[in-house]
């Protein structure tokens, strides 16, 4: 086998290991689904009336509030998945098994790739469940098959970016607790974007931040694909952000993994 074939096979072995962990100890994976589902219910049944009234005259064009908020919350599922990656990587680093992996003649990237792919797969499953709940409580997207595919592609790309970043956070965190706290701001960013309310309803300073942070173009693109609202250049900006963050996360994680030697 070539070294690339080895790298792929080692990554797949690591992926199987992580999926086995998730399957056996589903608590972490469940927490990824529970948070967005709670928010869907909360925003639909508790706040939906008030928020929806404010928005219906605006860019959503009179649809119900669940149609506005669901894409944002679906996207938040990806951030919740990222937190679980940071914890998983950090736990491994503190358990000593990583030192064993390092003394094997295996591809250095395999350990991280296995974690990241495992998390992305779990995140996509969680996203499917959240979409299911959204549909059950009245979300009515008008997307075509191609638009659905594009939406899934965007979500995968975003999950990949966030997961590589979180893998880096997991590597530099000293304890699993700090690994779970550090990515928290990430999970709040969508709130400070257009996930819950349109940015033009925000005060000036926040609005400026909301319009230039990466989640807003991603949310606008997803909403556009699923609900047919205008996307404009958000699509390109979102993809550029995702690719950029993926590269930053990847190289940061690789170098952090090379540096952290042992406990």
């Amino acid at each position: 086998m070539s070294s690339l074939a080895y790298a792929v096979s080692d990554s797949m072995t690591m992926l199987r290991r992580n999926l086995k962990h998730a399957q056996r100890y589903p608590a972490m994976s469940l927490s990824v689904v529970i948070m967005p589902v709670m928010m869907l219910l909360l925003f639909n049944y508790a706040f939906g009336g008030a928020l929806g009234a404010g928005i219906s005259g605006g860019p959503t064009g009179g649809g119900s509030y669940i149609d506005y908020v669901a894409p944002g919350i679906i996207l938040m599922t990806a951030t919740a998945g990222a937190v679980s990656t940071a914890v998983g990587v950090c736990v491994d680093m503190t358990e000593g098994i990583v030192n064993r992996f390092r003394t094997l003649s295996i591809s250095r990237a395999a350990f991280l790739t296995g974690h990241v792919l495992g998390s992305v797969i779990q995140t996509l499953i969680a996203i499917a469940l959240v979409i299911g709940v959204a549909l059950a409580i009245g979300f009515r997207p008008d997307a075509s098959a191609v638009e659905w595919l594009a939406a899934i592609g965007l979500l995968t790309l975003l999950a990949l970016a966030l997961t590589w970043l979180s893998a880096g956070i997991g590597l530099v965190s000293r304890t699993p607790e700090s690994a779970s706290n550090t990515p928290m701001p990430l999970t709040f960013l969508p709130f400070l974007g257009s996930a819950i309310v349109p940015t033009d309803s925000m005060p000036a300073g926040l609005r400026w931040f909301a319009e230039y942070q990466p989640f807003t173009p991603a949310i606008e693109t997803l909403r556009g694909l699923l609900m047919g609202t205008g996307i404009g250049n958000s699509g390109y900006i979102a993809v550029a952000w995702c690719v950029g963050l993926t590269l930053v996360g990847y190289f940061w994680s690789r170098s952090a993994f090379g540096r952290t030697s042992k406990r």
């Binding site: 290991r17 098994i97 030192n99 064993r100 390092r102 094997l104 042992k262 406990r263």
Partner: protein, 328 residues
Amino acid sequence: MTAPTTAPILTAPPAISALGLRKSYGDKVVLDGIDLTIPEGSIFALLGPNGAGKTTTVQILSTLIAADGGQAQVAGRDLTREADGVRAAIGVTGQFAAVDNLLTAEENLLLMADLQHVPRAEGRRRAAELLRRFELTEAARKPVVTFSGGMRRKLDLAMTLVGDPRIIFLDEPTTGLDPRSRRTMWEIIRDLVVADGVTIFLTTQYLDEADQLADRIAVLDRGRLVAEGTADELKRLIPGGHIRLQFADLTELDAAARHFGAAARDPEELTLRIPSDGSIPTLRAVLDVLDDAAVRAESLTVHTPDLDDVFLTLTGHGTPDTTTEMAR
């Protein structure tokens, strides 16, 4: 006529050789020039107290960390330039268990087989064989979280063996084990060399462990090798134990200490530890010195040799801390 050529070298190259290995963390010099030559198919023990630099040596030789200076070859490959080649030849069982707690014992072994590209069927066969050999067959399907310390150690070693390494590093393989598990571990280690002809590099804090297992022993003290040889050679260096004198107060202790050369004074315990082979004549000599000096000792006890004696004899100071004794 051509110039005479040198005779072909018939002896096999050493499994591990190192020259002038150095490592510092900040200002702290951890390894201060270590030279090693370990022949293939032998058991080598690196003996030293806590903090001597044993783990650091293992980490360098197993490619986990880089040395600051010196060079080393493991399995005929250069440690820095051919790290991957070294990794393909070695197996490492670190000081702390490196098992996947969330998987079962069997899954841990199969994971190692997969990562070392052992074909599936062969991997299963080896896993089953190792589980049997280490008496883990009954626990094979249980998650490792539920394992005792001894079982975990055995699994850890089994994982090291899945890839059929030619050179095995064992960092304090029996520290913290109960006496029975310790003996089992010793047997397993001996069998490895007899049955598979592998080379073993182990570290230990216990002289008796090195004595039981190793063909050659090197004594590490504060990052330097202070002695190297077979167990018998080392034992000839140390007188065979020590005599411990207990005093009533510091004045008596200090008075006595002035009359003994290589003795370790412990002002907290108010004891003096004198190297001795425990024979009647040396015992009498010690009593005579006390008599002549008119110093009164509360009690006297004779001890068989342990690591502290090796240190006392070789370095003129006791072990830097008391963990050796606490760990027993």
